[in-house]
Symmetry: none
Subunit: 144 residues, 4 copies
């Protein structure tokens, strides 16, 4: 039998709170998704003004970061034309995101879920995801 650790809803909400604070500071209302180790959605918020088209993008980024185990922007680089992983963005029913803004969430080095941010530019989305992780580790006592 294998044992897997995964984020609780209480922990997912700390991640969302961290993302919300950074988004408000930047003045960009975001879609924020947090999923478990297996890529299934735990919690989602679309801030007032967040983009409709970013709902599924945020969810896909969280899924990809948790399950493919890399920040989505890393896949953005690995999957450019000419790179050996070009084309991976259409796999998994089109839910494999290669746009920055998805990050794995870790606990003592083990991936326990993923966070995905969307509505800004990819660079702004990454900035919010980074801030959410920093807030999470500071507030939850969970060591990265």
């Amino acid at each position: 039998m294998l044992t897997t650790k995964t984020l609780s809803i209480a922990e997912a909400k700390i991640l969302i709170e961290g993302a919300r604070r950074k988004s408000e500071e930047m003045g960009i209302p975001m879609c924020i998704a947090v999923c478990d180790t297996a890529g299934h959605l735990i919690s989602f918020d679309r801030m007032d003004g967040g983009k409709i088209s970013s709902i599924s993008i945020a969810i896909d980024k969280a899924f990809t970061a948790a399950c493919a185990r890399k920040p989505t922007q890393v896949y953005g680089n690995l999957c450019q034309p000419g790179q050996p992983t070009f084309g991976i963005h259409i796999t998994n029913g089109g839910h494999f995101s290669i746009i920055g803004g998805g990050l794995p969430v870790t606990s003592d080095g083990e991936i326990v879920g993923g966070i995905g941010i969307s509505s800004g530019t990819a660079i702004e989305d990454v900035e919010v995801a980074d801030a959410a992780l920093a807030y999470f580790h500071a507030e939850s006592g969970v060591t990265a």
Copy 2:
């Protein structure tokens, strides 16, 4: 030009809080989704222990209640074999829910969103959705 009223994220969270309280009281961890007037997700929570297979069901119930403008259990009755609406559950890419647990949310008689509950029996899901609406109107000051 048309003007549409819709739930804010703050109001969506009051609905989710009402659902969460009832779910805890009943001892059934639920998936809880709230969508806007256009059927797009605003906020979602899967309580610890909520079913994986209920994530999309809760979201579909919220969508259907807001956009088809009826409690989903009403469609459950209208769509039985022999009824003229039989078959509607496979429309909208399979996202049209005819299982109880989805309710429109109103403000002064106008639909402003939908809530969807899933993980219990259909009857338990309806009970939690009802309780969430009652809590919402009591706490938010929004008249049904």
Copy 3:
């Protein structure tokens, strides 16, 4: 942080071996799928002569049993016309199976995965799934 137990590949293969033995005894080549606690495929075998159209049915049965946490034949009863859960079979992208042959796999009362069988009649599929579970608990030392 939550902790989840799930089947290993070695344990999944014991389940498949149990299903294979019963299928051979009955003379019905089956599609056999085993998934983890989160509904994701661990192992799959289509015996020589197993039906092409049963590949996805077996996988869907395993997913449903693990994630909705009931034998799929129970949903077959709950979801008949006139029942409150009628219509659930089209949810989850059509992957929610209500046909007998999917069973949750438990360890000390906790669901740790699912097995799905398809190619026979629903009754034959259930018989093979039951035999696979019995074989699994006898051979693996895992208590149901």
Copy 4:
């Protein structure tokens, strides 16, 4: 009337065993899929630690190699921007894989199925697929 040769489940398992051995040697747990001449799944294993997001990628690679009759990395080259086959990866419902790791399996020069590997880099996936084929031809007595 046409006659088609295709891999048996016993032969599929030799391919999977060859892939598993190489994966263990490399220390990378893989998703391994083998399909028949018609592209339909025969057998699948996700080794403990294999990526969730690689389940469908491995299956897609096996399908593509068997049915489009080329190693998937060949399509990776043929389908770059500017190439005449650019865009083929979104066909077949997104199941046409152009990422290395899918290989046709042959018997006396005739394609009898496909193998698909995923969880490593594309280069590691190709290495495992190559090793699986070599193991298969050595162990099964089937001439390539």
